[in-house]
Amino acid sequence: MTPNGRRQAGAERLERVVGAVLRAGVAASSLCLIVGLLWTIAAGSGGIPSSLLQIGIVVLLGTPAARVVVSIAEYVAERDWRFATLTVIVLLELLASAVAALVFNRRL
């Protein structure tokens, strides 16, 4: 296979994997949010419905992060070190936000 052809095949696989991660994340978070919201309206907050809502939000926020992680794995598998490095930087920026969130949380 030519370098261009290999890159094309790698790009197509990356799109498929990223698409699958996004679909799974949207489906899981939407399900948790729908059930959690209806349950909260019916029975009030607290207990399982509140946990479901929290899980739904965390999965929603985690979905873009998860697709960054699988992208890193794909670029490493393709030995595309330039894009692997760039994607690792994006992940580090997301981790920096999480650290900032903890700092603000402690101040409350």
């Binding site: 790009a11 949207v26 978070s29 729908i34 959690g36 919201l37 873009p64 900032a100 969130a101």
Partner: protein, 277 residues
């Protein structure tokens, strides 16, 4: 934090549905309408409104990109590169948002609303495509099948520093104000960086999930993200943008753009009135 009642959840769900519909019809996220509604009409603190809106932005990005993945319309390499800039901008914006007064954010929103309205009214539509299918798109360029012309088109990316700078600013504004920021990036990528409008919009929508996550995590940690209200808004926006995309293909968006630009001018004036006090 506002007290959550079923009536409030219903209002937020409806607001999300309307914003999602408008966003899909106008080709932008609904945040630019949802944030002022939650802040000015419902009366939530600006940070709470921005946190809810950012959550809907993430949901829209994931849903839209999941549907588009596999059609080469999203330029993943360019997206990953520009995300370095948007996520950095978003991280700094998220921290700044916790440190500045609500009135500053309201005035900034007032400025951005006017910019968005002007961009909406004077939207550039450069094609930027190379019709030769054998042309080399370079490391960052792309190639996709264009429905309108029925051909595979190729494009190259020009002026990368401009694209990175626009992405950084868009990321910053995104987490400061709770909007996606595509309205800032897409016209610049299209007009100056050689990227066809559809590829620019798809790539921007793809990036926005990561951008908004970098901001939303900080609001979440600060306790400004109320899960019940965020859930109502997310589900409303999902329903609204699904409906908007169904009707969007047939509806002419011209009158709607003019109407919504007028709404944004009013929003801007209201934000300045509140923020000026």
């Amino acid at each position: 934090m506002p007290l959550v009642t079923p009536a409030l959840a219903a209002i937020i769900f409806t607001a999300g549905a309307v914003s999602g519909t408008l966003g899909a019809l106008l080709g932008l996220g609904g945040g630019v309408f949802l944030v002022p509604f939650l802040n000015l009409v419902v009366g939530f603190p600006f940070g709470v409104a921005a946190a809810i809106s950012l959550t809907t932005v993430i949901a829209t990005s994931s849903t839209v990109s999941a549907g588009r993945a596999g059609r080469q319309l999203i330029n993943m390499r360019l997206g990953m590169l520009l995300e370095v800039a948007t996520a950095g901008g978003s991280f700094l914006g998220g921290i700044t948002a916790q440190l500045v007064a609500q009135s500053v954010l309201q005035r900034l929103f007032g400025i951005v609303a006017v910019v968005v309205a002007i961009i909406m009214l004077t939207r550039l539509r450069r094609r930027n495509v190379i019709l030769d299918p054998a042309a080399d798109p370079g490391v960052l360029g792309g190639r996709y099948y264009e429905d309108e012309s029925g051909t595979t088109v190729t494009y190259r990316v020009k002026r990368l520093p401009v694209a990175l700078g626009a992405s950084f600013i868009a990321g910053n504004v995104s987490s400061l104000l709770g909007i996606g920021g595509g309205i800032i990036k897409v016209p610049i990528l299209n007009a100056w960086c050689g990227i066809p409008l559809r590829a620019a919009a798809a790539t921007s929508a793809f990036m926005i999930g990561v951008t908004a996550t970098a901001g939303a995590i900080i609001y979440y940690g600060h306790g400004q993200l109320e899960p019940t209200l965020a859930a109502a808004a997310v589900l409303g926006v999902q329903l609204g943008s699904w409906g908007g995309m169904r009707f969007g293909a047939s509806a002419s968006a011209k009158w709607l753009k003019i109407l919504m630009a007028a709404v944004l001018f009013i929003v801007s004036a209201m934000m300045f009135a509140r923020g000026g006090r």
